[in-house]
């Protein structure tokens, strides 16, 4: 039973030395430092947040999405054909994204995230997972001013993401995660979604593919979501989350990334609570097919609390293994 994170890590902390990125972005905004200077700070912070995850005991880390301004514009900015417009709220959070506008046919001539992966992998002693907002959610949350319909837009993005997955596999990435929160809110697009993932993952066998579905519950997508061409499905499984009942309604046939720790509230879970939740998990899927994670990216928490929650997660995984051994 391994531990991982869902994606983002708090970009700054409360200590002065933890705020260099905020400072650098201000300076960059005022044209006081160059893009190279800013990148150097982003790399430094990426290095730090990877180390924090490792120090907390996490097995599979991410680069913390330190370079990402929001879940959409970082990727959209690297795909030709997108421009961005005003701020919109991201699901039910109090964070925002700039809505990408599809202005012309989308194409991507170079890797989107592979170099970020390579940098992270080069500074991490633990395996690094590449995380991206998947093609369906990117299509759904963008404003389509070019394609005839959503399906055409989503297919073009699916090919771009397929190519990206190839780049990542070639770069040595062993786990690729696609975040697709939007499908939970639009289950009527299921057939399209299924096809999109056939395109994205087809012929790719090297890396483990994870589909992460948060900001809602699986609802009517379960159990058919298990037909999707990925190895692992991740979802929110905090205490009393509706997903518990939904997952128990039919057999779960994939590997499970269980978002047990509430990444949207500072209230600390106790070790006993989490152990009990893990026990319930074993009723859904054999624990060797489970990885433990927070329910969302950690950016909704102050960094000090994020650290505490990860440490708890790792501790639970460890003590569970120990009980099993003894």
């Amino acid at each position: 039973m391994k531990t991982t994170v869902a994606g983002s890590y708090p970009k700054i902390g409360d200590l002065t030395e933890e705020q260099k990125l905020r400072h650098a972005l201000h300076q960059f905004d005022r044209h006081e430092i160059s893009e190279e200077n800013l990148q150097a700070v982003q790399e430094e912070v990426t290095r730090e947040v990877i180390q924090e995850q490792i120090d907390s005991g996490i097995d599979l880390v991410t680069d913390g999405l330190i370079r990402w301004d929001d879940p959409l514009t970082y990727q959209a900015g690297k795909i030709l054909g997108f421009k961005t417009t005003g701020l919109t709220r991201y699901f039910d959070t109090n964070t925002f994204y700039r809505e990408p506008i599809v202005a012309t046919r989308l194409e991507s001539r170079k890797p989107l995230l592979a170099s970020d992966y390579q940098f992270a992998a080069s500074v991490s002693q633990k395996p690094v997972k590449a995380v991206m907002t998947g093609p369906y959610t990117l299509a759904k949350l963008s404003k389509n001013e070019f394609y005839r319909n959503l399906a055409q837009l989503a297919y073009d993005l699916a090919y771009i993401f397929h190519q990206e997955a190839i780049f990542l596999e070639e770069a040595g990435c062993s786990v690729i995660q696609f975040d697709e929160p939007a499908i939970l809110h639009h289950p009527q697009d299921w057939q399209l979604f299924l096809r999109v993932y056939e395109v994205v993952t087809t012929g790719l066998s090297k890396a483990e593919k994870v589909l992460f579905l948060n900001f809602g519950n699986l609802g009517e997508l379960y159990p058919k979501i298990c037909n999707i061409q990925v190895d692992t499905i991740g979802c929110e499984l905090t205490k009393d989350h509706p997903n518990w009942k939904i997952l128990k309604s039919a057999s779960f046939t994939k590997r499970l990334m269980a978002g047990l720790i509430d990444a949207r509230n500072t209230k600390m879970e106790t070790e006993e609570e989490i152990l009990e939740i893990v026990h319930h998990l074993s009723e859904i899927v054999p624990l060797e097919k489970v990885s433990l994670a927070p329910s969302h990216g950690l950016e909704f928490l102050p960094r000090s609390v994020a650290r505490k929650k990860l440490t708890l997660l790792a501790k639970v995984a460890k003590s569970y293994q120990e009980t099993k051994v003894s």
Partner: protein
Amino acid sequence: MFLPTTSVGSLPKPDYLVEARSKFSKKQTTREELAELEKRATKEWIEFQEEIGIDILVDGEMYRGDMVTYFAENLDGFAISGLVRSYGNRYYKKPIAVHDIKRLRPITVEWYQYAQSLTKKPVKGMLTGPYTIMDWSFNEHYESRRDFCLKVAEIVHEEAVDLEKAGAAYIQIDEPAISARPEELDLAIEAIGIATQGIKAKTLTHICYGNFSKIYPRMLSIPVDQIDLELSNSHFEMFKLFSKYPFTKEIGLGVVDVHRHTIETKEEVVTRIEKALGVFPTALKIYVDPDCGLKTRTVDEAKAKLRVCVEAAKEVREILSDRYGPAKSQSSEPTLS
């Protein structure tokens, strides 16, 4: 008054105040010294608003860090957590409800009184709404979001009553979080109803950056006299909804984008106001203001954006009076369409 101008609430802090706040957080200056500078900055902003001819003023919130944290810091029952990102490069110290929330004393009344003492024009009383305070805080205490929200609603009501007693003719209760969960709109409406119950002053709420299509026209039942909306950021997309279901309250019309450095030209803003006049029923009262609080802009940018709002409103009044005779009251005015 036809097309009165106002602003949404926050204004940028001048450099000397930013510096003083930073020193205060490092305990290098006293609370009293900081308060003096907060007063100085408030006075400067009131003077500026008077100078450019804004009709309904704000105190600019020189004494607030964040719109939710400020209230939490002044209430019993909240702890303040570490920094959490809201968007872009902006962070706030997100409050945590740790036990029963109580208001120990009025929070904003003295600032309202101070600002109002500096001008004969009305200054708005500015509160953050119960739903937003609940949604933008962590909850380690209340059983449900509803319990938490309704408790905060009682407190906002107490504060609104005190502002009214102090003479506030306009009480604004900001609810930017209201569109985040359309399924909780009824809760938000119930909470604002508690907050505004029995208030005779003009009440208004400011809403921004959300998926309005999911809460419109239901949001017209929010129990306030006026709804102030961010419209420029979203390129006036809401107008499509308004043509389908007419807007039935007074509207605060956001005519400049507060998240871009560029200053809109007078012509651009005039076009936006004229467009609005074609969309809303003739009798509906329209207030002209920026999309949202201007605190994220530099002082110069904020001033320029306010100025363009005032100049454009003035221009539209002139265009209309040239065309149709003196603009006495909006209800007797034909609209441009």
